[in-house]
């Protein structure tokens, strides 16, 4: 196991690379979902404003 993590001496370059790539994969999903949630709540607010105007 320790041998696997040592990666033949390349651990200090290899693991940061993988960590960064996985970080990018995760962050982009989170950002996209946040954008969608924000756009939904913003659209909802717009609808309410418009409903308020109609009354």
């Amino acid at each position: 196991m320790a041998e696997f993590f040592a990666m033949g001496g390349y651990a200090q370059f290899l693991w940061p690379s993988y960590a960064l790539a996985i970080l990018a994969l995760v962050v982009n999903v989170i950002v996209a979902r946040r954008h969608l949630a924000a756009a939904r709540s913003e659209a909802r607010r717009r609808l309410e404003v418009r409903a308020g105007d109609a009354e």
Partner: protein, 244 residues
């Protein structure tokens, strides 16, 4: 010719719903392919005869580099469609691409540097591939900066779309000039990707990672596209429908 499919495809409610339905169909295969690819790349693939285990950085570097170029091409194509046919949805696609593209360009640069340190003995070499990636990152930044600087959404859409199209025309010229420049100044190039002699147990994980990253991009794109479509939509009737 029947053009109804075109109008249907361009209609925001349809795109919103379609994108929502497609997300899981790309997200899960992406997750599974990437996990298998990671296992294959880190465990199953044998060490390289020259670079030992260091070459395994390829399994995250190459997919990120591929994705960055693929995303820029997608962005510019969508921008072109948006400019020529004035399709709102195409602009929404282009707008969704930029952020993701900038991320993966940055990842490919940093992983390239981390690969370069053990191979070249230094983090940065003015290798043509790295240099072209750096310029691509600036192109993404320029696109995002222009979009952010213009307040009117429709104007921001069209101005940034034009920039993306001008950029894609320039990309091959930039690439050529950087290769030319490099061939004169003879920087060492160790990163030989896609060697034809790559053994199968090294190649398969790489192909899986490339496929997985591509599927992942489509999945994230569908989520961001829905957000962009909602932001652009002023018509209440279908908003009420999809929000409830």
């Amino acid at each position: 010719m029947d053009w109804t499919w075109f109008h249907k495809f361009g209609s925001p409610p349809h795109v919103y719903r379609l994108a929502g339905r497609l997300t899981p169909w790309f997200a899960w295969p992406a997750a599974i392919t990437i996990l298998i690819g990671l296992y294959g790349g880190l465990v199953l693939a044998p060490p390289d005869y020259q670079q030992g285990d260091g070459f395994r950085i390829i399994y995250v570097h190459a997919p990120s580099a591929w994705l960055s170029v693929m995303i820029y091409t997608t962005m510019a194509s969508a921008a072109f469609v948006g400019l020529v046919w004035r399709m709102k949805v195409a602009h929404a696609v282009a707008a969704s691409c930029a952020g993701i593209g900038a991320w993966f360009t940055a990842v490919s640069l940093v992983t390239g540097m981390l690969w370069g340190k053990p191979m070249w003995g230094t983090y940065w070499v003015w290798d043509p591939r790295l240099t072209a990636q750096l310029i691509l990152l600036f192109l993404f930044f320029g696109y995002m900066a222009l979009r952010a600087a213009i307040d009117d959404p429709s104007r921001a859409d069209r101005a940034s779309a034009l920039l993306a199209v001008v950029g894609i025309v320039n990309v091959p010229i930039i690439r050529f000039s950087v290769d030319w420049w490099n061939s004169i100044h003879q920087a060492p190039s160790v990163m030989k990707l896609g060697r034809p002699t790559m053994p199968v147990d090294m190649l398969v994980p790489l192909l899986l990672m490339l496929l997985g990253f591509t599927l992942y991009f489509v999945a994230v794109l569908t989520i961001r596209l829905r957000a962009e479509v909602l932001r652009r939509e002023r018509q209440a009737s279908w908003l009420r429908e999809v929000l409830d």
